[in-house]
Amino acid sequence: MFHIYCPYCEEHREEEEFHPKGQAHIQRPADPEACSDEAWGDYLFFRDNPRGVHHELWVHAVGCRKFFNITRHTVSYEILETYKMGEAPTVTAKSVSEKDKQAGVQAATGGWQTVGARPESEALNDASNQGARV
C-alpha cells in the first residue's frame, strides 16, 4: 500500500481511497457535429500508452470525491506530481528527459524497451505521438 497526495484534501491518503480514471487532459472536440469521424473516434476510444511519464485523471473516491491529476511514471510507478483540475503539469516527459540527460542517464528512446534500439522511424516514436495508431 502507498499514499497519494490529494491536492484538495492537502494531505497524503491511503491508495485505497482513490480510483484511476484514465488519461488526463483529453479535450472534447469543440464542435462534435463538425469534426471528422476519425477525430471523434480518437477522442472517444484512443488513449496514449507511454513508457515513462503519463498524466492521469484520478478521483479521491472515498474522501473529498474530487477529480484531480497525477503525473505517474509507468515503469517505476513513481508518482511525480499531483495537481488540481484545470492546472498544467510542471513535470512532463520533456522535463524529465532533460533532467535525465543532465544527469547523464542513458534512456531508451520513447516507447522502446532497450537502450540503443533503433526504431524504423523516430517520428513514430516521438513523445507527442505515443499511443497513436502505428
Partner: protein, 211 residues
C-alpha cells in the same frame, strides 16, 4: 428569498421512527454491561444532518449569521458551537456537513435560504440517510486503528479534525469533536455492518453500548 420548495421531513403527529441502527439493536441486542470496558459506543440517533454546497465566502457569511459558527475553510476540519451540539465539517472544497440537534434542521434550512437569497448554493437534508455513533474509552483509538487505514495518532488527528475515509472497507466520516470522543457518521446502509464490526473489533477490550 429563493424559490426552492422546502418540506419538513419530520411528519406531523408522532409516528414511530427508527434509526439506522434499530435493526442491529433489535436483532443483536446490546452486549452486557462490563465493568471497566475499554470502549463505549453510543448512537446519537435522529440528529439533523444537512449537506451544504456552494462557495466558502457566501456560505461562511450565512452560517455565521444563522448558526454563529465560522465555516471551517481548511480541509479536514470541524467547527462546533459552544454547546458542542451543532457542528459544521469540511467535506470537500465546496461541501460541508452540518449536524444539529434533531428537529432544528427544517427551521435552520429555511433561515439559511432566507439569508442566502439568490446566491448559488444547495442545501440537502440528509438526516434520514445517516446516523452518528460515538466511541469513547481508553481503547477507542486502538479499535479505530484496527478498522481504518487513516492515521488516528493524536499528532495526526487532533481535536477538531474530521475526515471521510475507509472504515472496514465501508465509507464513514470520522471526526474528533473532543479530546476523548470519536464520532463516526455512518451511512444508513453501512450502519449495521459497521456496528457489528465495531462490536467484534472492540470485543477484546471489553465493549459497552449505551442506549
Amino acid at each position: 428569498m429563493s424559490d426552492v420548495k422546502e418540506f419538513d421531513t419530520r411528519p406531523a403527529g408522532s409516528p414511530s421512527a427508527e434509526s439506522p441502527l434499530a435493526w442491529s439493536f433489535h436483532r443483536r441486542g446490546t452486549p452486557p454491561r462490563e465493568a471497566g470496558a475499554g470502549v463505549t459506543l453510543r448512537e446519537k440517533a435522529f440528529l439533523g444532518h444537512m449537506v451544504l454546497r456552494g462557495g466558502a465566502i457566501v456560505l461562511d457569511e450565512a452560517v455565521r449569521e444563522v448558526l454563529g459558527i465560522t465555516l471551517p475553510a481548511r480541509p479536514n476540519t470541524l467547527a462546533l458551537d459552544d454547546s458542542g451540539e451543532r457542528s459544521i465539517q469540511w467535506l470537500s472544497p465546496d461541501e460541508w456537513l452540518v449536524i444539529v440537534p434533531g428537529g432544528e434542521e427544517f427551521a435552520l434550512e429555511g433561515r439559511l435560504r432566507e439569508v442566502l437569497g439568490q446566491a448559488h448554493y444547495s442545501i440537502v437534508n440528509v438526516s434520514g440517510g445517516q446516523t452518528v455513533l460515538t466511541l469513547r474509552g481508553e481503547k477507542a483509538r486502538e479499535t479505530l486503528m484496527k478498522s481504518t487505514p487513516y492515521d488516528v495518532h493524536p499528532q495526526a488527528f487532533p481535536v477538531g479534525k474530521g475526515v471521510t475515509t475507509v472504515f472496514a472497507k465501508a465509507t464513514v466520516i470520522l471526526r474528533r469533536p473532543t479530546e476523548d470522543t470519536w464520532e463516526l457518521v455512518l451511512r444508513r446502509s453501512f450502519a449495521d455492518y459497521c456496528y457489528r464490526w465495531l462490536l467484534d473489533a472492540a470485543a477484546e477490550y471489553g465493549v459497552t453500548v449505551e442506549r
